[in-house]
């Protein structure tokens, strides 16, 4: 939903405003997602777990239908496309035309890198510490004098904003954003990626999205039913790797670098 908000924000801005700089258009995508998240957060963050997922999904579907119906603004099923893609420019320093896929690739990599850095830093701040504590035990956080609901709202808005940046970059790359990016499959993809990569870890979802992108490329050469393979992998991961793919790295790390564990001393004693 915030992916879509970011995408439409950028696309609509570029369609209507002549000569809008690239970075400003991405910023507009970010802000559109943040505004939407601020509006919805008071309702959504009050619940957690499955209820949160369902409520979120319900709002996503509402947005999906809205985008389809508000033809005048969003172009309905056709979406917003064919808008001019401005060059990447810092006035007086450089100006690079990113219509070239390779240059766009570098542009996307830089935006991704900066986003990862900001979010990584975010988890390391005192607020980030409160964030992981809420993950472990929201109740205790409350009894220690921190506002759980408000903190969750902040996290929700930040997450929405960065999803908006992703949507914005996507819209720029495709030169098109349509309702399809808000469909139930599109909403479910990030959840699936997170579950396969590893819930509750920073690099898990990054790994997951890499694996999924690779899989999609690979399987689409042999079959049309890419979702079938993805679903199968999701089931396998849930059954056999509850910590996700990133869990493998943790296990390897523990095996290689851990100090002699209790198990180790028991083995040497016998």
């Amino acid at each position: 939903m915030y992916f879509g908000a970011g995408g439409f924000g950028t696309a609509i801005a570029l369609t209507h405003i002549q000569g809008l700089p690239l970075l400003v258009s991405v910023l507009i995508g970010f802000v559109s997602a943040v505004v939407l998240a601020i509006i919805l957060s008071p309702i959504v963050v009050r619940v957690s777990g499955t209820a949160f997922a369902m409520l979120h999904l319900a709002f996503s579907q509402l947005m999906f239908v809205l985008v389809l119906k508000l033809r005048g603004i969003t172009g309905g099923e056709d979406g917003v496309g064919g808008f001019p893609i401005p060059p990447f420019s810092i006035p007086g320093i450089i100006s690079i035309d990113i219509m070239d896929p390779l240059k766009f690739y570098y542009f996307a990599i830089i935006v991704l890198g900066i986003s990862i850095l900001i979010l990584w830093f975010f988890t390391k701040t005192p607020f980030g510490q409160i964030m992981v504590s809420i993950r472990d035990n929201p109740n205790r956080v409350n009894y220690m004098g921190f506002r759980v609901t408000l903190s969750k709202a902040v996290i929700y808005v930040v997450a929405g904003g960065f999803a908006g940046i992703a949507g914005s970059i996507y819209a720029l790359f495709q030169n098109l954003i349509s309702a399809e990016e808000l469909s139930i499959m599109a909403c479910f993809a990030p959840i699936m990626i997170t579950m396969v990569g590893g819930v509750g870890s920073f690099f898990g979802p990054i790994l997951g999205s890499g694996v999924f992108a690779f899989l999609e490329e690979l399987t689409s050469r042999y079959t049309e039913h890419v979702e079938l393979v993805q679903g199968l992998i999701l089931i396998l991961v849930i059954l056999f790797m509850p910590m996700g793919l990133i869990g493998i790295f943790h296990i390897i790390k523990e095996k290689l670098f851990s100090k002699p564990s209790l198990q180790g001393t028991m083995e040497s004693a016998s």
Binding site: F121, P126, Q129, R140, Y143, G145, F146
Partner: protein, 248 residues
């Protein structure tokens, strides 16, 4: 001076009366134990005082302020800390990170996004100091879930005590501990709650009589007796209802 007071507190769970006209008075600086048989409503009383539940009737005063039904985070900010009967730490975070939350709570560091928490030297120093005081510096970087049972319980109680709260409410801090662990925990509680007010729920009579200045006996949701350990020991009602023939 009274720091905590409940006036005519009632609470029921859909008709089942758990608290019945509870008038508790805790004096500033004392160590006050709440004892009573299982199901007497001790934890419910804690929950009503610390904001988990709103009482169905009655009022709670903390430092003279009416705090009836206030949210837990607000109570924590005005100086009330509590621990839990069922261990409730941040299980994936290390001992240090757990205690750092208590330190951050005390210093009021909340919505801070612009600095790395590791770079806040005073927070790190203070947390390390707390780690040392509770003898967990050997376990500083171990996730809470991997601590031994006794140490995990110590951490649980310390999360409430390390925040430098004026009133610390401990719910069975020594439950399930071995004799040695219990002895250590009692010393820990004694040290960390110095100059503070503490309310403690306990079953272990040794712990109660070695720690408490005053004792309140809760029985079927109402207060049976309040008094010094000596008075409680010799109270006939208490003997009949709870202590029985216990050698105390």
């Amino acid at each position: 001076m009274t720091i905590l007071e409940t006036k005519g507190l009632y609470h029921d769970f859909s008709g089942l009366e758990v608290l019945f006209d509870v008038n508790l008075e805790v004096v500033e600086g004392e160590r006050h134990a709440i004892i009573g048989p299982n199901g007497a409503g001790k934890t419910t009383l804690f929950n009503v005082i610390t904001g988990t539940y709103k009482p169905s009737r009655g009022q709670v005063f903390f430092k003279g302020i009416d705090i009836t039904g206030e949210k837990p985070f607000k109570l924590a900010r005005i100086g009330m800390g509590r621990s839990f009967q069922i261990t409730s730490t941040f299980h994936r975070l290390t001992t240090f990170q757990n205690l750092r939350m208590a330190v951050m709570s005390r210093l009021g560091i909340r919505f801070n996004f612009h600095r790395k928490v590791d770079k806040l030297q005073h927070v790190t120093d203070e947390t390390d100091e707390v780690c040392g005081r509770i003898n967990l510096d050997g376990e500083r970087d171990i996730p809470a879930e991997l601590l031994s049972y006794g140490k995990h319980r110590s951490l649980e109680a310390s999360l409430a005590m390390a925040g430098d709260k004026e009133l610390v409410m401990l719910d069975e801090p020594t439950a399930g501990m071995s004799r040695d662990e219990t002895h250590f925990a009692v010393e820990l509680i004694r040290r960390l709650t110095e100059d503070k007010t503490m309310v403690i729920i306990e079953h272990d009579m040794d712990v109660i009589f070695s720690l408490a200045d005053r004792i309140t006996v809760l029985h079927y949701g109402s207060i049976l007796a309040t008094g010094s350990p000596e008075e409680i020991k010799n109270n006939q009602d208490v003997k009949d209802a709870y202590l029985g023939d216990l050698e105390v």
